[in-house]
C-alpha cells in the first residue's frame, strides 16, 4: 500500500502541475521549454565535475585501495561487534550508489535479505546518501572552494545514519 502510494506521487505531481497550468491558461509547452533549456545548460556544466568525481572513485576502487582500507576497518568492526561483511558496503556507499547497491545485492544473495546483515544493509542504504557525489555535484555547480563547515556536518550526519541503522537492526 505504502509502496503503491509512493509510486503514484510522481505521475500525480506531474499531472497536477500540467493540468493546473492548462486551466490557468498558460502557454504550457513554451513554459516547459524555457525551464528545460536551463536544465540542459546546468547538466552540461556539471558534466566535467561528474567525470572528475567518477574517476576519483574508480581509481582507488580498481587498484584495490578501498578493499585494503575495508580490510583494515574489519579488525575494528570485530571489536565493536559489527558484522564485518557490512564494512565494505558502508565504505562504498559513501562514494557510489550503484556500486553500493551491487554490494548489497551480493549480501542479499549470500545471507538473505532478512538476515541481520541483510536488514542492516537495507537500512544503511536507505538512511545514508552518496556523500562524495552530493558534495561534488552541488558545490561543483557553483564552484565552491572554501567549503566552510559543510564537510564536518556531512560526516556527522552520515555517521549518525550508520550508527542508527546498525543499532535499530541489532
Amino acid at each position: 500500500m505504502l509502496v503503491w502510494i509512493s509510486q503514484m506521487i510522481l505521475p500525480l505531481t506531474v499531472g497536477y502541475i500540467v493540468g493546473f497550468a492548462v486551466l490557468a491558461r498558460r502557454p504550457v509547452f513554451e513554459d516547459f521549454l524555457g525551464g528545460a533549456k536551463d536544465g540542459m545548460k546546468m547538466t552540461a556544466e556539471i558534466l566535467p565535475t561528474l567525470v572528475g568525481l567518477m574517476i576519483a572513485v574508480g581509481v582507488p576502487r580498481r587498484s584495490g585501495f578501498l578493499d585494503a582500507i575495508a580490510g583494515q576497518l574489519q579488525g575494528i568492526a570485530g571489536i565493536l561487534h559489527i558484522p564485518r561483511e557490512l564494512i565494505p558496503l558502508t565504505l562504498v556507499r559513501l562514494v557510489s550508489n550503484s556500486a553500493g547497491t551491487g554490494l548489497l545485492l551480493d549480501l542479499f544473495e549470500t545471507f538473505g535479505p532478512d538476515s541481520r546483515i541483510g536488514m542492516a544493509g537495507s537500512v544503511l542504504m536507505s538512511s545514508t546518501e552518496t556523500v562524495f557525489y552530493c558534495i561534488s555535484v552541488y558545490f561543483g555547480a557553483v564552484k565552491i572552494r572554501k567549503t566552510g563547515w559543510m564537510l564536518p556536518g556531512a560526516l556527522v550526519a552520515t555517521l549518525a545514519g550508520i550508527i542508527a541503522s546498525l543499532w535499530v537492526t541489532r
Binding site: D38, D114, P152, G161
Partner: protein, 191 residues
C-alpha cells in the same frame, strides 16, 4: 578542501595500484569511470531537462509560489539568513519535499537551482545557508525506501516492507543530527 580530497583519492589509488602491480587494471578503471560518468550525465540530462521544464510550468502558473509559502515555517527555521523573497526559497522547498517523497530525480535539479540562487556573491565561499542545505541533503530525508523494498522482494524476502520502520528511525536520527549540527554552526559562525 575538495582539491585535497580529489588528489588524495587519485594518487592513493595510483600508488596502491603500482605497489600491487595492477596498474593495467587501474588504467582500465580510469577509462571506464570516465565513460560511466558520461552515461550518468546523459541519464541526468534527460531528467534535469524534464524536471526543470515541469518546475518552470509550476512557477509560471503560480503553483510554486503557493507551495513555497506553505513551506515557509520550515524554511524560516532551517534558513534564518534567507530573506522572505529570496529566489532560492522555491527550489529549496521543492528539493526538500522531493527528497522526503523519494523522487530522487526531481530533487537534484531543484537542488542545483537552489545552489545557484544561494551563490549570490560568487566568491567561492560556502555560506551558512549553502552548508545547511547540503548537509540536510546528505543526511537522507527519504521517508519510504521504495527501491530498497523492490530489491528485497526481488530477492524473495518474506516481508520486503520490514525495512520501512527501521529505515524511518535511522533516517530520523541522521536528519535530526544534521539539523542540530546546522543550528549550532549557524549560531557559532554568525552571519
Amino acid at each position: 578542501m575538495l582539491n585535497y580530497l580529489w588528489s588524495f583519492m587519485i594518487l592513493a589509488g595510483l600508488l596502491f595500484g603500482a605497489v600491487c602491480g595492477n596498474l593495467g587494471e587501474v588504467t582500465q578503471g580510469l577509462i571506464e569511470s570516465a565513460q560511466d560518468a558520461v552515461a550518468l550525465g546523459i541519464t541526468m540530462l534527460g531528467m534535469m531537462t524534464f524536471w526543470c521544464g515541469i518546475m518552470e510550468i509550476g512557477k509560471q502558473a503560480g503553483l510554486l509560489e503557493w507551495f513555497t509559502q506553505k513551506m515557509n515555517p520550515l524554511l524560516n527555521f532551517l534558513f534564518p539568513d534567507l530573506k522572505p523573497d529570496h529566489p532560492a526559497r522555491a527550489p529549496i522547498a521543492v528539493n526538500i519535499v522531493a527528497n522526503v517523497l523519494g523522487l530522487g530525480m526531481a530533487s537534484t535539479p531543484a537542488g542545483l537551482l537552489a545552489m545557484q540562487e544561494l551563490d549570490e556573491k560568487r566568491d567561492g565561499r560556502a555560506t551558512n545557508a549553502m552548508c545547511t542545505f547540503l548537509v540536510l541533503n546528505i543526511s537522507s530525508l527519504q521517508l519510504i525506501p521504495v527501491s530498497m523494498i523492490a530489491y528485497r522482494s526481488q530477492y524473495a524476502s518474506p516481508d520486503p516492507g520490514a525495512v520501512i520502520g527501521p529505515a524511518l528511525l535511522a533516517t530520523s536520527c541522521s536528519t535530526l543530527t544534521a539539523v542540530i549540527f546546522c543550528k549550532i554552526m549557524q549560531k557559532i559562525s554568525g552571519r
